[in-house]
């Protein structure tokens, strides 16, 4: 699997310094990427934050026990940043005296358990579909692109609103609708890249050997397209998280007694005058996570591009916020 | 080897045949021009100590391979260098004003009325979203403060001057609606709009097919004679130089290695690079004969040797070539006339009223006298 892939990636890099490895090969690739990551301060911090959020969502709720649901009216609406009421009230408490910290930790699991499957589903379906459409061209491509156009030309929030009106707003339905509305993003990107690749010499070479289309797609197209799509998925993670939060905030997403960060902002809204932290903290949690994902996506975009990778080797690197603007592919 | 020289001595319409007659006024005098490029690997010098002069009604050719700095020189003259490039040293005296000493804002006054430039690729050089009339008229709007209607009338005039049919209707067309040759004519019209004293043509015919090339060169010649412009023709085409130019400056790796009247330089090259270039032109070859070329390739810009720039490819290379870079010195048959004159004195002498005759032959080679020409 390595040789045609490296060849393909090597074609993409015009003249820059020879990178240590060309292809995004999972086995021997990780150390190289990891070392590059450590060199970039912003990207390392971002990766660390994301790791922390992931760990919190994974093991946090178990550690918190019933703290998130335990009501204690004695400690209602306690202000944050004081250890006077014990560590669990360091971030304050809500009107029922529940620990903010514990609720944030529990909510992180809900938030991630919607965002991650939605991104994964959209990535999987959209990429495979796009690669397939781009490889075969012709009517398959046309029909796919029209479908993508139709989905994209309608506000995703409205689509979600209508669907969640008809079906009940459960977590599974939210995942479904978010995945559906984001499939076109991967579809368009994967199609464009795959259409470009299928005319390359190394794909022609595979064809002359008698390789079947699906084998060529799996061996020669997908490995080359994957880094781009993974970068896109990191960026999409932000979008999906924000979308879930918006839906929950509007009352058509996650429903109580479950709790997500977006829902917490919504619930705290009526106490804005008396207990600002109820709305502000969950929002800060969202912002920190999305900024981390954005920074990492910006770094990934450069790190996985052999032609641009030398930039990361430079000592003075200001990588913050070169947001890749999503290009409107026709 | 013979053909280039033969071509150069053929009788022609251009004023190259006036070698012995009264020389024209010097319009542009460039000396010691140096351009630096800032790259992520440090600063490199793309043009180094280039000097030449252009005279009214005559054509000076800057000849060289791609990457030798000839286009960079042209952009430096016109003041339209890329942001990563700096004019490091030198003077660009155009009609008595040193352009190199002016601020970018002050230079704008000269861009158009004094100096025009023609690019190689007319499609990218024309703004796709405006009609050619708008773009042709812009110079008049900027420098003569004409209104839109007057500017359009001037644009139609210009289009007629450069031989575009039906200018009244074509003036409202967009660049993509013209053929390549017509686009190049428009580009030339734009450059000569305000009758500049100096026209820089940066490979004006490279992107065109051969028949159109001849028409465009004919147009440039006509315009030069009408307006008594000095033309700097940048090209890598030896035939074009022999055909069109009065004098030539051969560039290699950012340096002028030889200059002088075309006929003399081509007949009797005094630099091994010029000689190699001329010998690489296939002349009277039988089918199956070996084509000649200069072995090797020019040095990378960040890797130019400290001695002679041509040392790595030169057949005559000696120790002194590696140790010391040869200066541009008078050379060739007419050397005796300027025997004692250093090149600086020679050019400064020609500066006042052109009394010193034709431009001197110069070459930058330690062994220019030892080059034998069959």
């Amino acid at each position: 699997m390595t040789s045609p892939v490296t060849q393909g990636a090597a074609q993409e890099q015009p003249s820059s310094q020879p990178p240590t490895r060309n292809a995004p090969n999972a086995r021997d690739g990780q150390p190289g990427l990891f070392r590059l990551l450590l060199k970039d301060r912003f990207a390392s911090v971002a990766a660390f934050i994301l790791l922390l959020v992931g760990l919190t969502a994974l093991v946090g709720p178990a550690l918190m026990g019933d703290l998130a649901t335990k009501q204690n009216l004695l400690f209602a609406n306690k202000a944050p940043f004081t250890m006077a009421h014990g560590w669990e009230y360091f971030l304050g408490s809500d009107s029922l005296g529940r620990s903010m910290l514990a609720r944030l930790v529990v909510a992180s699991r809900t938030t991630l358990s919607v965002a991650l499957p939605a991104v994964a589903a959209a990535l999987l379906i959209g990429s495979l579909w796009g690669v397939w459409a781009g490889y075969h061209r012709g009517w398959r491509e046309n029909v796919s692109m029209r479908i993508a156009d139709v989905i994209m030309s309608f506000p995703s929030l409205l689509l979600a609103v209508v669907v969640l009106y008809v079906f009940s707003p459960s977590a599974a339905n939210i995942v479904l609708i978010l995945a559906l509305t984001r499939i076109p993003i991967y579809l368009r990107t994967a199609r464009a890249e795959s259409a470009e690749l299928q005319s390359r010499t190394f794909v022609d070479a595979a064809r002359t050997f008698g390789a079947k289309p699906n084998a060529i797609i799996g061996r020669h197209v997908i490995p080359v397209v994957l880094p781009t799509l993974l970068t896109l998925a990191t960026l999409e993670f932000c979008y999906v998280m924000l979308a879930e939060s918006s839906l929950s905030f509007l009352g058509i997403g996650i429903q109580p007694p479950d709790v997500s960060w977006g829902l917490m902002v919504s619930q705290g809204r009526q106490y804005l005058q008396t207990a600002w932290w109820l709305s502000i903290f969950p929002g800060v949690a969202i912002v920190i996570t999305t900024i981390a994902a954005n920074v990492l996506a910006a770094w990934l975009r450069i790190a996985t591009d052999p032609a641009q990778r030398w930039r990361l080797a430079l000592p003075r690197q200001r990588l913050i916020a070169r947001i890749p603007v999503k290009e409107a592919q026709p | 080897m013979n053909s280039a020289a033969d071509q150069a001595t053929l009788p022609r319409t251009g004023p190259a045949g006036v070698t012995a007659s009264q020389p024209h006024d010097v319009v542009l005098q460039v000396s010691g021009l140096a351009v630096d490029i800032r790259t992520h690997r440090g600063t490199v010098r793309a043009v180094n100590g280039v000097g030449f002069e252009a005279r009214a009604g005559e054509t000076l050719a800057l000849l060289g391979e791609s990457g030798c700095g000839k286009s960079m020189t042209a952009k430096a003259l016109a003041g339209i260098m890329d942001p990563v490039c700096d004019l490091a040293e030198g003077t660009i005296v155009l009609n008595g004003t040193d352009l190199a000493a002016l601020t970018p804002k002050e230079r704008l006054k000269f861009a158009g009325p004094e100096l025009g430039i023609v690019f190689q690729d007319a499609l990218t050089a024309l703004n796709p979203v405006y009609t050619v009339g708008t773009q042709l008229g812009e110079a008049f709007r900027i420098h003569r403060k004409l209104n839109a209607k007057q500017a359009k009338a001037e644009a139609i005039d210009l289009m007629r001057r450069v031989g575009i049919p039906e200018p009244e209707s074509r003036v409202n067309s967009y660049p993509h609606q013209f053929s390549g040759g017509m686009r190049q004519r428009i580009l030339i019209a734009m450059a000569v709009a305000l009758n500049p004293r100096l026209l820089i043509a940066d490979e004006p015919t490279t992107a065109l097919d051969v028949t159109v090339q001849a028409q465009i060169m004919q147009l440039l010649r006509t315009l030069r004679e009408e307006g008594q412009m000095a033309v700097i023709l940048i090209t890598h085409d030896l035939a074009v130089v022999a055909e069109e130019a009065d004098s030539v400056a051969v560039m290699y790796a950012g340096n002028v290695v030889e200059s002088g009247p075309v006929a003399e330089v081509f007949a009797d090259p005094r630099h091994p690079y010029t000689k190699g270039l001329l010998e690489s032109v296939p002349v009277n070859l039988e089918r199956g004969d070996q084509l000649r070329s200069i072995p090797g390739s020019p040095p990378e810009l960040h890797d130019i040797p400290s001695g002679c720039v041509y040392q790595s490819r030169c057949p005559l290379v000696q120790d002194i070539c590696r140790a010391q870079r040869p200066a541009l010195r008078p050379a060739g048959r007419r050397r005796a006339d300027n025997a004692a004159a250093d090149v600086d004195q020679a050019t400064s002498a020609t500066n006042d009223g052109g009394t010193a005759g034709r431009p001197v032959r110069t070459a930058a080679c330690h062994f220019s006298e030892e080059i034998t020409n069959a």
């Binding site: 139709v150 030309s153 506000p155 913050i320 916020a321 947001i323 999503k326 | 430039i117 053929s179």
Partner: protein
């Protein structure tokens, strides 16, 4: 121009048709409206009457024809909440949203052009940093949270602006600021990027060689070329703006179409939701056509008729 326009209208109408059919299908999926519209203790006779009166006993195709007929006459039935005509309610709410969206878009474009051009002319300068920061913020900050932070700081703590409603100019500040963030963040990056590439084009050099000054180069030559890529994302931006409007209108109590949609969802008022969704879809459709026309005006190359010399 006309054939071009016709082609664009047909291709843009496809999503519109899909929306209409989709809404119809969803309307069927919500179950028999009788259970929604009639009291719980309604008799079977009453149910049958209702079904017959609303044509629900007809074959599906007839129902669909009826439905499309109704859509064309803007007849979406009555609101369950108020008993008013659903289409009239949607149309009444529409101008408020349009005002908000149009103001935001105009501001976003003006600001993005100024900051984006400035950033392109001076890479790593102040404007470049501002545009980077805003883009990052636009991609990371949830708009509802930004609105709430705005209310907390400027309405509650400082008391400069009202927390909600449409009374007076100051009520516009927070909604527009919230709505502005995303389109501005996207546009400024696009303007910056396309200005950088436009400014390095040979025709810019040629314009300079004609004596065009910095201001003229930017406003006359680069900006118009840079506008085309910005216009191509305008469609996506408007779609995003509708998303934002739903959130912002809900938070600030703005009586627009977004708030109407959320309200009708929470109160299960399907007729109104349907009218509002379709109206929004039509508005987006019309805007896409306008954008296409603008594109053709801006750049002669996409116009279909070309005359070769």
């Amino acid at each position: 121009m006309l054939t071009y326009l016709r082609k664009r209208i047909i291709s843009s109408a496809l999503p519109l048709v899909v929306v209409v059919v989709g809404v119809f299908a969803l309307a069927r999926m919500t179950g028999n409206p009788a259970s929604l519209y009639l009291p719980l203790n309604a008799t079977q006779q009453m149910r049958d009457d209702f079904t017959a009166r609303n044509g629900l006993d007809q074959p599906l195709l007839v129902q669909m024809a009826d439905y499309f007929g109704g859509v064309l006459r803007l007849d979406f039935g009555q609101s369950l909440r108020t008993g008013q005509d659903a289409a009239a309610m949607a149309l009444r709410a529409f101008p408020a949203t349009l005002q908000l969206a149009a103001t935001t878009m105009v501001l976003a474009i003006i600001l993005a052009v100024i900051v984006g051009c400035w950033a392109a002319l001076k890479p790593n300068g102040i404007a470049d940093r501002i545009s980077s920061f805003i883009s990052m913020a636009a991609a990371s900050i949830p708009d509802f949270w930004l609105a709430i932070v705005g209310i907390w700081i400027f309405a509650i703590t400082l008391g400069w602006v009202p927390t909600s409603g449409v009374t007076g100019a100051s009520a516009w500040v927070l909604p527009i600021a919230t709505l502005l963030l995303r389109p501005f963040g996207v546009l400024v990056q696009i303007v910056r990027g396309s200005m950088v590439s436009a400014l390095s084009e040979p025709y810019i050099k040629l314009a300079r060689s004609r004596g065009a000054g910095e201001l003229r180069v930017v406003t006359h030559h680069a900006l118009r070329n840079a506008a085309a890529p910005a216009l191509t994302v305008a469609g996506d931006l408007t779609v995003g703006l509708v998303n934002g409007a739903v959130v912002v209108e809900t938070i600030f109590g703005w009586p627009g179409i977004g708030k109407l949609m959320i309200d009708s969802i929470l109160q299960r008022d399907f007729a109104v939701l349907q009218a509002a969704v379709l109206l929004t879809a039509v508005a987006i459709f019309a805007l896409n056509i306008l954008i296409d026309m603008g594109y053709a005006l801006l750049d002669a190359r996409v116009r279909p008729v070309t005359v070769k010399a």
